[in-house]
Subunit: 134 residues, 2 copies
DNA sequence: GCTTGACCTGGAGTTCACTCCAGAAAGTAG
DNA sequence: CTACTTTCTGGAGTGAACTCCAGGTCAAGC
């Protein structure tokens, strides 16, 4: 598989793939006439990297994970601990975002009320200042 | 309230507060002998900004919201729409993160199994390659 | 009045994660 | 063989969100 195909299949740009290789997130692939020739296994691995990135893991940490992976099975406990820490971070982020949704709902409700009053009272200037940002 | 106090109360750095002022996220406060003197209302407003940031809203969008706010009540419908869009984005992000948790759980389980086998078989070299990244 | 700490400005520097570029080499279709 | 597309390298540039700095001003305690 050439780099363009990997890009197409993963949704990452060619530049990003080379950048990830430079950072050590992916192993340097074989070359055919100077061009990168990837194994199919690169696709799920990049999918996994994308998932880690979606959780907010910095690429430096992904690199740490990748280099543990390269070292083989002896590092599996350490990798598991990394994923467990990330799992906890994700749960915390989900909780934070759920609070954000609640706050947004509160604000949206306030705006709906203000608009209703606005319409009812014919657009007269009103004071919004008693509605705290909370 | 001086800038240091605002920083202490919000957890933002003094530099960040001045940066936000430059971007137009917060109104330029009154000055007392050249020094910024903030109204108490700045604290909940900054709390709201932090919440928007936590949802992943770029500062440019926060600035848009802030400038609508400055224009007064006539913009409340537009602000509500912004918050509704953000709400939808947050729900999508929560869903994505929940999928990430599931995937992490799957991986963590695999690692736990590998480690168990590892211990049982006395640390003999094993092949992990049949465990897909997916 | 003096010292010490907080605050001021304008601008430069940093980090992260890309993204783009020029110029050259390799692969592909007709 | 020609024309076109893809890929190559090394390095420069980008945008977001800060963060730091020098050199100066202001204020509070003793």
């Amino acid at each position: 598989m050439k780099i363009g195909e990997v890009a197409r299949r993963t949704g990452l740009s060619i530049d990003t793939l080379r950048y990830y290789e430079k950072l050590g997130l992916i192993d340097p692939p074989w070359r055919q006439g100077g061009q990168r020739a990837y194994d199919d296994a690169i696709v799920p691995w990049l999918g996994f990297i994308k998932m880690l990135k979606a959780t907010g893991m910095p690429l430096a940490d992904v690199e740490t994970y990748a280099s543990l992976r390269r070292k083989g099975d002896d590092t599996s406990a350490e990798r598991r601990r990394m994923l467990e820490r990330q799992r906890a971070a994700v749960l915390a982020k989900i909780a934070e975002l759920q609070e954000c949704v609640e706050l947004l709902d509160y604000k949206i409700m306030n705006y709906a009320e203000i608009e209703a009053r606005h319409r009812a009272e014919g657009g007269r200037k009103e004071d919004e200042s008693d509605r705290p940002d909370k």
